[in-house]
């Protein structure tokens, strides 16, 4: 029975305008110069150039530059022919090689980010699903409540957690009263679970919102069609809902995992050196005199690492777009 269920048909998308000729001419016959429409992109282009490409070049110049001989402040070197790769090589040696004592932090970062993103998804998806499909007239209120934590600074909320999680804090008291943990648990002494849950806590709204938007946009008649054609609720979910919300899920995961890779304050406040992550390596290197080039190198390495999930996301959205076209 199940195997006979057909793949749901996608709705017909209006044909995309193809080629540049169409863009240059309106149906009324008004002709626009070639640069007219591309010029609309210039604010964003200028923005990118000033706030991304230029700073990126400064980071490169710092990473391959030197530091001030007196105070050790980073001295970027802007002429590529003066660049020195010694700091970069040193940093690579910290991750791979004989003195690779940064390697555990790198691996830990991957594990923490993976688990935290997964938890965000497992917790966030049902919430987003419920609000989008069954929120009814309270949708607005639910969304408001979801965004409510943003009204208080993340830092403040983490400080609050710090005091809740101390050995004689409320969390331990509740666990004791409920006979779950008779002895107080030392949550803040570098426990991976504390850091992972703190990451989930801090980032989950960023996942819920795009997923909500995705599910909310979904065509309900497709679900009904799935059920009409005899699919069980699980099959409908797996073969209709999930593929339809894949882009939203991916977007949500990218939005939460990218900043998690560079997050350092969550671990600073909820963990210890035993739970150091990549962001902590950057943080402690950048605040140390004379370490500017190494910090710059770390930033570059993190960027390269982040390109991988980003590239996957872009490829996947492109494919989805092509599939719809």
């Amino acid at each position: 029975m199940a195997s006979t269920v057909q793949e749901p048909a996608l709705p017909d998308a209006p044909p995309e305008p193809k080629g540049s000729k169409v863009a240059h001419e309106e149906s009324s016959g008004v002709w626009y110069p070639k640069w007219y429409w591309p010029s609309f992109a210039s604010p964003a282009t200028i923005w990118l150039a000033i706030f991304f490409i230029l700073p990126l070049y400064v980071v490169l110049s710092v990473a391959f530059g030197t530091s001030d001989p007196i105070f050790g402040a980073p001295l970027p070197v802007y002429e590529p022919w003066y660049w020195s790769s010694s700091s970069f090589v040193h940093v690579i040696g910290r991750f791979f090689g004989a003195a690779a004592f940064w390697q555990p932090a790198l691996l830990r970062t991957f594990v923490f980010v993976f688990l935290a993103s997964l938890l965000c998804l497992l917790i966030g998806f049902p919430v987003a699903y419920y609000v989008a499909r069954y929120g009814g007239k309270h949708k607005g209120l639910y969304l408001l409540l979801l965004v409510a934590p943003f009204w208080i600074s993340y830092l403040m909320r983490i400080f609050a957690w710090q005091s809740l999680l101390t050995s004689d804090g409320i969390v331990n008291s509740i666990l004791r009263i409920l006979h779950i943990a008779p002895n107080p648990i030392d949550w803040l002494s570098g426990k991976p679970i504390t850091v992972i849950l703190a990451l989930v806590y801090g980032y989950i709204p960023y996942l819920i919102l795009p997923v909500y938007a995705g599910i909310d946009r979904m065509n309900v008649s497709l679900l009904e069609a799935g059920r009409d054609l005899g699919a069980s609720p699980w099959q409908t979910f797996r073969r209709v809902t999930l593929p339809q919300s894949k882009q939203a899920i991916l977007a949500g995961l990218v939005i939460v995992s990218l900043p998690m890779f560079g997050d350092y304050y969550t671990n600073d406040l909820m963990g210890s050196p035993k739970t150091s992550m990549f962001g902590n390596l950057i943080d402690k290197t950048i605040t140390q005199q004379g370490q500017g080039p190494r910090a710059g190198s770390l930033v570059l390495i993190l960027m390269v690492i982040l390109l991988i999930p980003m590239a996957y996301y872009l490829r996947s959205t492109r494919r989805a777009a092509e599939g719809e076209g």
Partner: protein, 415 residues
């Protein structure tokens, strides 16, 4: 080495760091300098050897003269003070204004690096600045300080410990005047741990697994590694020996493994008085100050402070200086002299700061008897002799500093 007063920046450190690590942002002048010759010293400046007790440094004047003795006081002006947060008693400042008719504006920095950076870029033009002794060479080489006129600061000779009449880090005190002193030892909660046990174990008690979750050490590479060196019988706290530093770092990793210690700059005055931490690497001034941080109803007798009884632990002081860009240099001299007055120095220490000025009039025995220092922590009183027997964390040359940083890096990377 950040001074103990780094504790003052406490929770704001994250805001500061989150602001994008201002220290790391290259300044325009640095960028322009980089265009010419990356990484060169300013013209006419040679690198000064780091000062040591047996290798005193006479700081060059670079042709600069102190201000004239008969220069008039800038009455009605506003003296710009640039210092750690809460590192001066407001009442003492008001008394200065009342006495000399000079107002005071108090600006704070979160750490030494930020302070120096803002002065060197001209973002802040203070009249008086506070600095650790390991930064003095650098400030002078960068020509950021002005030499002092001794005639305007008679209280130094009159009131301050002889050891500071001609300190090794600034012979003839050309640029600096000492502010406060401290030792670095182990703070312990006497309501949980016996004096005898701490006395018997010394530094080792921080490594004791029975205090798992109850230990903290300072989040400062020099201070933490320095203690580990001392624990291992290495008394050169400015060592350039890779083997010694590796030993110290490995031992600190063992400490973290054994006790899950917190690595924190403020545990000694927050988690410790709150009883979350029972054993804390601690600056003596933090321990004296902790009497005010204890929750209501908790007697000061819970505070304990251990420092080696041979008095051969970590000891240090910081200094007051007048930046070259000071707008009110006469008032600045007057203020420094005022802070060396025995009455005001004592008031500032006993009623607010907790860190002890090196004043002849301050009698260690009386400090305890008068209740300025709680009876249970007499060891927290700094004595002049400590600067002969104790060991100072001093400036390192760049390569050595790198070794220290690498060693600490290993400790804090959670390998």
């Amino acid at each position: 080495m950040p001074s103990p007063t780094e504790r003052r920046f406490s929770r704001r450190q994250f805001l500061y760091r989150a602001a994008g690590a201002a220290v790391a942002v290259p300044t325009l002048s640095a960028i322009l300098a980089a265009c010419a010759k990356p990484g060169q010293l300013p013209s006419g400046v040679t690198l000064l050897e780091p000062a040591r007790q047996d290798r005193p440094v006479t700081l060059p004047l670079y042709g600069r003269e102190p201000i004239a003795t008969d220069a008039p006081l800038e009455e009605g002006a506003t003296l710009q003070i640039y210092n750690w947060d809460s590192y001066l008693y407001k009442k003492t400042l008001k008394e200065f204004t009342a006495k000399y008719g000079v107002n005071i504006e108090y600006t704070t920095y979160n750490n030494m690096e930020e302070g120096i950076q803002k002065i060197s870029t001209g973002q802040i033009k203070p009249d008086v600045f506070w600095t650790d002794i390991d930064k003095i060479n650098k400030l002078v080489m960068a020509k950021l300080l002005q030499p002092l006129n001794h005639d305007l600061i008679p209280n130094l000779e009159k009131n301050v410990w002889p050891v500071y009449q001609n300190p090794f880090y600034d012979q003839h005190w050309r640029y600096t005047v000492p502010y406060v002193t401290w030792t670095t030892g182990v703070g312990y909660r006497r309501d949980h741990i016996d004096d005898a046990e701490v006395a018997a174990k010394g530094y080792d008690i921080l490594w004791d697994p029975q205090y798992n979750g109850k230990v903290s050490i300072y989040d400062d590479y020099r201070t933490a590694l320095g203690m580990s060196l001392l624990k291992n019988g290495i008394y050169d706290l400015n060592t350039g020996s890779e083997a010694d530093l590796k030993l110290a770092a490995d031992d600190l990793v063992r400490l973290l493994d054994a006790t899950n210690a917190r690595v924190s700059i403020n545990a000694s005055y927050s988690a410790f008085p709150a009883d979350e931490i029972w054993l804390s690497q601690a600056w003596s001034g933090d321990m004296v100050g902790d009497q005010y941080y204890l929750p209501k109803g908790v007697p000061t007798s819970v505070l304990g402070y251990w420092y080696p009884k041979e008095r051969n632990g970590e000891v240090n002081n910081d200094t007051m200086v007048i930046p070259a860009s000071a707008q009110h240099p006469v008032a600045a001299h007057t203020f420094i002299n005022f802070m060396l007055d025995k009455k005001y120095a004592f008031e500032n220490f006993a009623d607010w700061v907790g860190y002890q000025p090196p004043q002849n009039s301050i009698n260690p025995t009386e400090l305890v008897a008068d209740g300025v220092v709680p009876k249970t922590i007499p060891e927290a009183v700094v004595r002049q002799d400590d600067f002969k027997k104790g060991h100072l964390l001093l400036e390192l040359n760049r390569d050595t500093d790198q070794l220290w940083f690498d060693a600490w890096d290993q400790v804090t990377s959670g390998g």
